[in-house]
Amino acid sequence: MGSTIISGISDLCGRCVPEVLETMFFAMAIENEQAQTSDEAVSVRVLFRGAPSGEFGLRADPGLLATLGAAFLGKFDDEPLTPAEVSQTACELANMVCGSVLSEAESDCGFDLDEPQIDAHAFGDGPPDCEMRFELDTGGAMEIRFRFAEPAPASAS
């Protein structure tokens, strides 16, 4: 079950991330393994309970998040987003991406999401089961990862 979910999650992420960004944040994204965030990137962790349970992480630079947040809020003037609004943008983006993916991956059993948390260590607790990087047309990169509570089964020999 674990390896099926892992491969399925990658495909779902490849669809859901662009859909969320285009629909709600008016940005285009393409998958790019070379896309890199900076050391100033904001990291968000979302814990979820389902079959399986696990955690989702999202990381993006503050400048990118400010651009996405301005589009989300319809702020077209020169007034910059506050640091709180940048953090809220990251959390809302993580919430929607994680929820969109799990709605399809765990459609048979349901899931529950915890409140997204800004967490500098969201990407530091060991290798993920799925990790993807995206390049956005607004400029900048976004990284996401899923890690599941159940270990992936060993490959058949």
């Binding site: 989300f72 809220q88 929607m96 929820g99 969109s100 709605s103 349901g110």
Partner: protein, 130 residues
């Protein structure tokens, strides 16, 4: 389209201030005639608003602190003055299990995030019979 131009008072319930602002903006652009838009960050705050103001429609998230959307809807069902207020759920959770559960609690509509503004308008018009 129904030509009834009755203005409606809408209550937006979501623990994300960004999402409340987004929905408020979508409502303003949607063409749905709104008299006033109220906001609440959780189910209990939403019940307080409903107790103090005339609300014609509730747009509510599910997962919220202090009181979830499910708990809020249960309380609405148990309160004669509130049980007739239509609720449209707005949630990232689009599983059939969740949708069925919310409809059993009395939700009249369901919108999955992410959503196009037109979807919100269509669902509001369908639920309110506009």
């Amino acid at each position: 389209m129904n030509t009834d131009a009755r203005e409606v008072s809408v209550l937006v319930v979501d623990d994300s201030p960004l999402m409340r602002s987004f929905i408020r903006r979508v409502l303003a652009m949607s063409g749905v005639p709104t008299r006033e838009v109220f906001e609440a960050g959780d189910g209990q705050s939403a019940l307080d608003v409903m107790g103090n103001s005339r609300i014609d429609l509730v747009l509510s998230d599910i997962n919220m602190p202090r009181m979830t959307g499910s708990e809020m809807m249960q309380r609405m069902c148990d309160t004669p003055e509130l049980r007739s207020i239509p609720v449209i759920v707005v949630s990232t959770d689009a599983t059939q299990q969740r949708m069925d559960a919310m409809l059993r609690l009395g939700a009249r509509g369901y919108i999955r995030k992410p959503f196009q503004p037109e979807s919100l308008r269509s669902e509001i018009e369908r639920v309110l019979g506009m």
